[in-house]
């Protein structure tokens, strides 16, 4: 089954006030390589910070366009990953490993959301 995971870092990391620890950046390469080699990780991306983002809101028949940063938002997506796992339990295990990698490398507050993909194109 295909799973889609969003990574929600702390807001001060997204804003750039708190730098991503170098040891986390160093550990991420081998972690991702291992996940790809095992066939579990299909694709992943880290996003530029939300200050460079845009949010479009359709409300009735009008569209409001707002530039980032989004001060009122509790949750800012920092990155995503698509995983192939035989079961939801294994997807949650993969997400737990990912969170633990952050904890071990100085980012002890991070949220990962795990969702199954219903269907799509080139996923």
């Amino acid at each position: 089954m295909r799973y889609f995971m969003t990574i929600l870092p702390p807001k001060d990391v997204d804003s750039g006030k708190r730098p991503v620890p170098q040891s986390l950046m160093d550990a991420m390469g081998p972690f991702v390589e291992k996940a790809i080699a095992s066939g579990a990780m299909i694709s992943t991306g880290g996003l530029k910070n939300s200050a460079t983002g845009v949010r479009l809101t359709g409300n009735g028949d009008r569209i409001a366009v707002m530039d980032g940063p989004f001060a009122e938002s509790k949750e800012i997506v920092g990155g995503y990953a698509v995983f192939e796992c035989p079961s939801k339990a294994e997807a949650i295990q993969a997400a737990t490993d990912f969170v633990n990698l952050h904890i071990e490398h100085g980012m002890p507050d991070i949220v990962v959301e795990v969702r199954e993909i219903a269907g799509g194109y080139n996923i």
């Binding site: 295909r2 889609f4 299909i42 530029k48 809101t57 997506v77 990155g79 002890p108 949220v111 959301e113």
Partner: protein, 122 residues
């Protein structure tokens, strides 16, 4: 430039209400066109939030919670990875996508447009 877009519909859709048939019928040709012109790299719709799981680390302790996530406001119904020459083009495409929803009976929807910094196979 590569862009990552998230689509946030209203909560009833996130919890499994099916989209209007006319929107589903219009989505195929819309996506076919975006694939053909090279702008759409990959896209997916997600299963309802009620089937999702949320892992939260606070101070190094992980809590695992099953959906739905009542306290969350900005939840994702689907996403797309797209390629555009400029951010303005990406915003134009997001506007078209919202208009498609408005025309087909889903007038309340949010799209977030973010540039991808790097990654693997994105």
């Amino acid at each position: 430039m590569r862009f990552f877009m998230t689509v946030t519909p209203s909560h009833d859709y996130l919890e499994g209400k099916p989209p209007p048939q006319s929107l589903m019928d219009a989505m195929g040709p819309y996506m076919g066109k975006a694939v053909a012109d090279g702008s759409l790299i990959s896209t997916a719709g997600l299963k309802p939030l009620t089937e999702g799981t949320f892992l939260s680390a606070r101070g190094g302790r992980i809590t695992v919670k099953d959906g739905p996530f009542a306290e969350s406001k900005e939840l994702i119904g689907g996403y797309a990875v797209m390629e555009f020459a400029t951010k303005a083009d990406a915003i134009r495409a997001a506007t078209d996508f919202i208009n498609l929803h408005i025309e087909h009976g889903v007038p309340d929807i949010d799209v977030s447009v973010r540039a991808v910094d790097g990654g693997y196979n994105f």
